[in-house]
Symmetry: C2
Subunit: 383 residues, 2 copies
């Protein structure tokens, strides 16, 4: 069977997905592509719905191409009013039951304007974050994490004070700090927010503190309110832990805080036979759902992701997209403080470099942090 | 380096996880196990937290064993007050950043009583579902799905009427029926609920209709209220689409409906190098989070899962567990109506067989459905 050629562009008004299929040959790939088109839409044997329903609602196989031996990319498209009605349904169609098939990965996703318009995107975006911390000149930004779990609120506050005195843009809670007895949520937020405020008064700087608010979904409103009451302009949230639509609902609020999305439980990695490709999840979906800043695992760190994956995430977060605000990529996870200048040079100024444990391992925290901040200011901007 | 032996049982008060590592050899496996223990807890280089924090909070490698060449199972344990504070934090520690590492899968999870007690489990459980539909004699149960998308509320109601006249226990919305213009949520729920009620009046039966309520998280309360107002005792929800803690919050309500959990977007499959093993996700986590009925993809259907995986899910849903109610397994996804008796014989009476498209493809829907219902009654119970 010859492979059907990919029609590009797909008709307007349709969501387009690309599935990477690990199958024995071209015939099997085409057959699987049609099985997916049915699984994700009608989910009944051929003929049950009748010709009108099939024509209107069945997923369409737009094309299948061979990537390498045993690997094929199938492009499918779906009617927008099948997919409409919110982010969970978008995920249901793009990556619902098909996510239970071994040997199938979701490697691209394109939304028609109708579906894009129903998603909020970042409430503040890269521009809003720059205005918040005084980085309108377009220089790269620096974020740091306070940790580890086990430290008391006053110990965490002391670390945060050193970071703020050194002039970082954002201090975030580690995503492992939740509500443990060593540093309960409310006590931690208050102590760290006070420390950052007093350090800002010393320096005249505008370091922002983002507490981690991931927790039971029925406590989220209360946690976000506590953060606001403590004077903090942003939060850290793990969308894949609480559900991506919980991020969407937060970003959709008229008083949305800045949201830094953390990738815990995102269940993805480059080159896997299954799962969502990292650039689609972090670059497209997290941005559409409303993340102002997207944390992901950097190359050469603890996770061994290739730099090409990082660049692909960056590109999607920064690309023009129907008027949607851009998000700031925040590569993290084993970024060595001494390499800050190299990473900033590679990734360019629209980056928030997130450095955690490597700084905390230094003897002189404030001085070491200051060198990273200086590297970011030296890297300058291109706005 | 000799592999450390697994200590069994792990100290009380600690959560235990088993990660399956695809690595070159034993040394690499032990090194990776220790890296995971650190990644999931302190997430700082050795020494940064100090000895007291390391002793108290660092994840512990309890043992590593070789499964086959290049595959090792590492057993780790975590302090319960690290993990405490809700289901998202449990997932954060068990399967947070480590879910971003290629070549690592979560293949087992054991909760100490302290953590188990903080999770609701099913509000009704298998016993409650049996009481609801009049199956207290212990016979297996039969569920069917109305679909496909594109049908109008009155067309879906006509299908539901035939199913109810045939005496099925549960009629569920297909998870692809959401709020599309062809059958908006409220119109669909009302029409189908009315049809099932009037069919029950004819037969004297107790067929229950479970509408699909997955949608934007901020509409969930309203949808659940509409379902209740329509007189329906249960709902279909996709926990992995909306977030597993959204299920937990629903099951935790004093007026919780029966919840049938559907696996869309669960992103797992048997034998994968990455991801959560299906029996852990569906058998342990969905039950702990509060699913009364757990739909998963059956063997020999469209997904080619081995029957051993299905049996492992069943076993976890039915096992005694600290007083937690049991859940009903609902194998689905390409179950042929003509094979109903065979599946019921294999899986035993504490099963809700879910048949969808195969029945809808029959010429005489009511008669074909009646034969499945009779097979379930013939299979009898063992209570």
């Amino acid at each position: 069977m010859p492979l059907p050629a990919v029609t590009d562009p797909v008709d307007e008004g349709r969501m387009r997905t690309v599935y990477r299929l690990s199958v024995a040959g071209a015939d099997a790939a085409v057959e699987l592509a049609h099985a997916i088109a049915r699984e994700q839409t009608l989910e009944v044997p051929p003929g049950v719905g009748g010709p009108e329903i099939e024509a209107r609602w069945l997923g369409r196989v737009e094309g299948v191409r061979e990537v390498e031996e045993g690997v094929f990319d199938a492009t499918l498209s779906y009617a927008d009013d099948l997919v409409g009605g919110g982010l969970p349904q978008l995920l249901n169609v793009a990556w619902g039951n098909v996510s239970l098939m071994n040997g199938v990965a979701l490697v691209d996703l394109t939304l028609p304007a109708s579906l894009r318009a129903a998603l909020p995107g970042p409430a503040h975006g890269a521009t809003g974050v720059r205005a918040l911390v005084g980085a309108e000149d377009g220089r790269p930004l620096v974020a740091v994490a306070i940790k580890p779990v086990g430290r008391t609120p006053s110990e965490l506050a002391a670390i945060a004070r050193a970071f703020a005195l050194a002039g970082v843009d954002v201090i975030k809670d580690d995503h492992g700090l939740v509500d443990q007895p060593s540093a309960p949520f409310a006590a931690r937020v208050t102590a760290v927010a006070d420390a950052v405020r007093s350090a800002n008064a010393v320096t005249g700087g505008r370091t922002a503190y983002f507490p981690h608010v991931t927790g039971p979904v029925d406590t989220l409103d209360e946690r976000v309110e506590s953060v606001r009451a403590a004077g903090c302009p942003g939060v850290v949230l793990c969308p894949s832990l609480v559900g991506m639509d919980v991020l969407r609902a937060l970003a959709d609020r008229s008083d949305a805080p800045v949201v830094m999305a953390h990738p815990s439980h995102a269940q993805c990695g480059p080159g896997r036979r299954e799962g969502i490709a990292p650039e689609v999840l972090f670059g497209t979906l997290y941005r559409a759902a409303g993340a102002d800043i997207v944390v992901y695992v950097n190359a050469e760190g603890r996770f061994a992701w290739p730099v090409e994956t990082c660049q692909a995430i960056n590109a999607r977060l920064r690309a023009p997209w129907d008027g949607l605000r851009t998000s700031l990529p925040a590569p993290a996870g084993g970024v060595d403080a001494d390499d800050a200048a190299r990473w900033l040079s590679l990734y360019g100024p629209d980056t928030m470099l997130l450095i955690g444990g490597s700084l905390l391992a230094k003897d002189a925290l404030e001085g070491a942090t200051r060198r990273v901040v200086e590297a970011a200011r030296m890297a300058g901007g291109d706005l």
